[in-house]
Amino acid sequence: MNLTTFLLALFDGVSYAALVFIVALGLTLIFGVMRILNVAHGSLYAIGAYATVSLVGWVLALGAAPILAFPLMIVSAILVGVLIGGPVEYLLLRRIYDKPEVLQLLVTFAVFMILEDVQRLVWGTQPYFEAQALRALGNVTVFGVTYTVYQLILLPLVALTLLVGLRFFLRRTVTGKLITATTEDREAAQSIGIDADRVFLLTFVMGAILAGLGGALASPTTSILPGMGADMIVLSFAVVATAGLGQIEGAAIAALMIGMGRSFAIYIWPEVAVLVPYLIMVLVLLVRPEGLFGSPAARKI
């Protein structure tokens, strides 16, 4: 492997890891606060991508500048979070917080099945491709390797900003502290007057927005087709499980490991590239069953 392919694999890995991290961040945030694994997270990612393509395509067709694609990505992500994430939490999940884990898993799985068909009904089965945003930012050349600014600089920058921003939000702002308090002890938080229902709704919508944003940012780099949601939920679960459920910084490191592993595999042994994320996950879980940064749960007797 020469320097050029090494750099290419490295850049691929970084941009891929950034995308997966954004989605995994939403998944791990929801789990950390609500103790629910949202299987429908993958669908929110896919719908975020579809919504962006439709919205960007429509606005640019009106003659707007391609740079407008960026605010439209944020708009789509927020739409996904509020219009889909909000009702799912408010109408469904709220009823099952006291139910066993398996039931909660089944409910989010049912939502996943429903949303997969919703996508097909709204957008059909034809693949979509819309790379205006990617082209708008142009290319950059590093050590003789030309790469898109969008993937090499923007995506990692967004991921890093979200990581730091979420940390700051949870530790330094009042709303963030309310969320942290509810996570630590829901009953104690409620007894001092925190509205846990609102905290959960807010958390779920934020997580859903992150899924939608992941999809929105991924849309210019890949063709959008049915099934991408199923792939993403398994992949982001692999990241979150490797890190330890609920670990935010850990998810960043796990995303980098998995992203790098996959992109180097593409250049060295392409047939197994799709398997690498899961191999990494299985290897990590064999040694540390709670994930890299997770700690064993206290056992109730």
């Binding site: 694994l37 299987v39 469904l92 009823r95 099952i96 139910k99 066993p100 884990e101 398996v102 039931l103 898993l105 089944l106 409910v107 799985f109 049912a110 939502v111 996943f112 099945m113 429903i114 997969e116 068909d117 919703v118 097909r120 009904l121 199923a230 792939d231 398994v234 679960f237 692999a238 499980a241 459920l245 047939e271 799709v274 398997l275 899961y278 996950m281 299985v282 879980l285 064999l286 069953p289 056992r299 109730k300 007797i301």
Partner: protein
């Protein structure tokens, strides 16, 4: 609490009249090829699927749900296809045993890993394993035939070459025998010491450890049973359909199994078959009108069962029956 994953005391202690009803049901199934020959293949598919659903049901008894059990269904089906392709004139019972053993072996390998986990991790790791196998089937198309899959030639039966109709009839009755036999075995297994220990995982695992018993060992025994049941279902499906495709392992298949298990009455073996029959009928006749929204309907119906009828069909059935008996 977890009403969906518990079961009414359906096993062993059902009233005699109810048992008679079940026997009548089996007799009715056995009469299908003569009464309604055009339903024979459909019921055959339902029975094959039902066996796999029992596999999922076994795990539900321990309070666990697997989103990837189509893995064992598919592994067994592909083993059947490979054996048929490499050993021409292979016997049906040969591939039945090979497929089931292969599924059990895969269950052992995957099981050794996943029995360390419960709940979310258990469900999602199973899903991950099935997705891995699915992408192997799709990627290594020079071996697996990719998305087109592999065709199965008709196997011989105890050395006899059967015609198409005779083979289908043979397959149908074999399926009924397997369903009754394995269904009975699974119900007996639940009542056996190992089965009892396995179900304790749902209520209190720590107490199991206090008894000096390894929950992982108990879990693994149930996992092996569930994988083998899926394996038998997979090989029946493959021979009935005559072709195996990666769709056998696709997550939608696993979701379907979980759906039927919850629909029939989570934790009930009889419910699994009843659910599979109803599901297969509705799917065949309704998906023509609702093919585009089929998964959506399944998801919505799953929500309704979980939220409003946690006992599933079998729960409703037995409640109605108990009420009828009370008033008469």
């Amino acid at each position: 609490m977890s009403s969906v994953t518990t079961t009414a005391p359906a096993t062993g202690s059902s009233p005699a009249a109810l048992s008679l009803l079940w026997i009548a049901g089996v007799v009715l199934l056995a009469a299908v090829p003569f009464l309604a020959p055009n339903l024979q293949l459909l019921v055959n598919f339902a029975l094959a699927k039902g066996l796999a659903v029992v596999g999922v049901t076994v795990l539900l008894r321990a309070g666990q749900v697997s989103f990837g059990h189509a893995l064992f269904f598919g592994i067994s089906a592909y083993i059947g296809a490979f054996v048929m392709a490499s050993v021409p004139g292979m016997d049906f019972f040969g591939i039945l045993i090979a497929g089931t053993l292969g599924a059990a072996l895969a269950g052992l390998v995957v099981g050794l890993f996943v029995v360390r986990y419960r709940g979310i991790f258990f469900g999602m790791l199973n899903l991950a394993f099935s997705m891995i196998f699915w992408s192997i089937l799709e990627k290594f198309y020079h071996i697996t035939g990719g998305a087109d899959g592999i065709r199965l030639t008709r196997p011989t039966v105890l050395g006899m070459e059967l015609g198409r109709d005779a083979f289908e009839l043979f397959l149908y009755y074999t399926a009924i025998v397997l369903v009754v036999g394995l269904g009975w075995f699974t119900i007996r297994w639940f009542a056996s010491p190992v089965g009892q220990l396995f179900q304790t995982i749902k209520t209190n695992e720590t107490r199991l450890e206090y008894l000096g018993i390894s929950p992982r060992r108990a879990m693994l025994s149930g996992y092996l049973l569930s994988a083998a049941l899926c394996g038998v279902g997979g090989i029946l499906m493959a021979t009935a359909q005559g072709v195996v495709t990666p769709e056998y392992v696709w997550w939608v298949r696993s979701a379907e199994m979980v759906f039927i298990a919850v629909l029939g009455g989570a934790g009930s073996v009889r419910g699994a078959f009843l659910g599979a029959l109803i599901y297969e009928f509705v799917r065949t006749y309704a998906s023509a009108y609702a093919g585009d929204v089929w998964q959506m309907l399944l998801g919505a119906f799953l929500l309704v069962i979980i939220l409003f009828a946690p006992g599933g069909i079998i729960g409703i059935f037995e409640r109605v029956f108990a009420r009828g008996k009370g008033t008469s």
